[in-house]
Symmetry: C2
Subunit: 406 residues, 2 copies
Amino acid sequence: MNILDIIIKKKNKKELTYEELFMAFNGYHKGEVKDYQMSSLLMAITINGMTLNETLSLTDIFIKSGNAYQFNKKVSDKHSTGGVGDSTTFIVAPIVASMNIPMAKMSGRSLGYTGGTIDKLESIPGYKTVLSEEEFYNQIDKIGLAVCSQSEMLVPLDKIIYALRDVSGTTESIPLIACSIMSKKIASGASYIVIDIKVGSGALIKTREEADLFASWVISIGNHYNKKVKTIITSMDEPLSSSIGNALEILEAIEVLKGKNNRLKEVSIEIASHIVSMAKGISVDDAKILSNNALKKGSAYKMFEKWITTQGGNLNAIKISNKVFSLKSNVTGMIKSISAINCAKLSLKLGAGKINKDDIIDHSVGIKLLHQVGDKINKDDILAEIYVKDFNLNLTEEDLKLFVIN
Amino acid sequence: MNILDIIIKKKNKKELTYEELFMAFNGYHKGEVKDYQMSSLLMAITINGMTLNETLSLTDIFIKSGNAYQFNKKVSDKHSTGGVGDSTTFIVAPIVASMNIPMAKMSGRSLGYTGGTIDKLESIPGYKTVLSEEEFYNQIDKIGLAVCSQSEMLVPLDKIIYALRDVSGTTESIPLIACSIMSKKIASGASYIVIDIKVGSGALIKTREEADLFASWVISIGNHYNKKVKTIITSMDEPLSSSIGNALEILEAIEVLKGKNNRLKEVSIEIASHIVSMAKGISVDDAKILSNNALKKGSAYKMFEKWITTQGGNLNAIKISNKVFSLKSNVTGMIKSISAINCAKLSLKLGAGKINKDDIIDHSVGIKLLHQVGDKINKDDILAEIYVKDFNLNLTEEDLKLFVIN
């Protein structure tokens, strides 16, 4: 067996053994298997799929490529497969931590339309996104909540495979997404994991059927490592919150922590309830009451402040652009839909995301949607506020097609 | 549309346009598209296939990547998709050239079990495999037959794509094989082309169905360029001739040119007849009579001598190893089969082929099969002569499993 035999075996829709997957992926990590061989294998996997056995094997190979974290207490973690306006982490983490369920989360930066969790946190001046292993462990012991950027040794194989998938057209593979996410969740030491699966035309996972399959796989992988895993499925046709952009999303999350009701709150409560249910061994309904109480009583917000302050952040110093223009409706009617993908594209154009690795994110720009689907709109009503760096941006009508009204 | 959109479109089983294929393949030629992107696209093509339209487009893009040859007269060419003991070129070319049908052939070296046509010709001391464009044209004008190695400017895009397919597990693709072969045949200027499609477990094309599909495609591609194309399908379960190895195959071809009857002769006559039929506008049956006559009368052999001599070769100087051992039967019975793939593997081990580009071919070694399928064999009968460099080769019983006798 050499790498070509392995590639051709997968091309021919045969199941690869642990040893064959190890030879290919570990070989790639060591530089023995070339980029063009791995991308060919990744495309064969993307088209022909992987069995659950193969996916378990590959997850294990991923995990063993780096260091695994271990905590004194059982900690929780959450992951979203990627959404527009998804700032649930900033709400879920304080809710559960306020109930003495630690959340130890290592997050990524996003290369795409909008910032990742770490980019969003960097819109809080002073927030330290890089923690040493010791600092990370200590903060969990001390306050039960820490969110930092992924260490270099957290599943290094995933990093290089992810980077290659990103440039070789092989991102849309359910088993590869499952390996990538679960290897990191397991290596980072969580015992209770909630995966929020985003489904929709703009998401990596397009259909409900794919989402169900993905859900069953991440649960199987988790069980294999004695982890409790719950999944929720969230539609990504519309943005999850009415704010899109880094600082804007942090501010929106703070509003929810202070009592605002919206879809962002609902999804956050759902994720938090599953974690609380698993950690405390209670029903999800009971956990939901506790989670809602944590918001109502202000204990979640208190925990949020403690967390951000402990990690050096100054909440009073968050800045959003003072250059804002209003997107007005030129018709009268009802909002039929709000396009998540178009909001994402616009926010990218504003500077809230990045296409190339060296692009610099502008944390102060973004979109604030003032209306929801179902709202009745008169001509000239303000639909959204667009926070820009300067007014010279060449925004076309196409760029501003966020709402469908009729 | 960027390269990722194109890769993903093919992954999703959509037909690519000429412009998209151009952007991908020409972009790769120019170094804009990376190895790992092209191998990913090649795997998507290998698994999901290409339509005839896509195949025509890609063939055209291949052709336009280099120079096209044009001759004063209409010339013929032949191609085999790769077989063990296939030395038909040395018989077909002189037959048709002896009837004033020029054959202008640019051949390759083989990276694999046995040598390619050019490697085999190099076993004739003095034979000049590299001809300038002018020398090539002049020799065709003068004697109507020339076989040289492919110029650097003959479909250079095919060279780099072929090299990448070879190391990325993407060789087994009917449309890519059709593009590769037909682009070179068309660019090298032939008007009458016979493609000998080898089918069998050891061949690139495994089944009769694939061979039929392949045949219809190469004919369609040829017609698109106003070329007459005929295909024949030859089983590659057994070696085509009883000699495998470079000098041995040249000597075997000479025996056929001098009158020997065997399967090599039959296949050569079939190929030659199709060329003669197309070139002279006569029936294949009539062409077969003419081709057989060219052998009988010695005019084909005379043409062969003229060709080799014109290109500098000295037929009297061909050397085969004087170290020969006999492979004897240890049973009594009938020969059920002779394994082409095992003969090929053994000849590679003897030094007749090469695995790596810098390996040096030993022209003097090889295998001479003394019996055919159906022959009755007594214990201790000599089945084959093995021509070796020295007797210290560590040949195992596995290596010598050429015959199945029972």
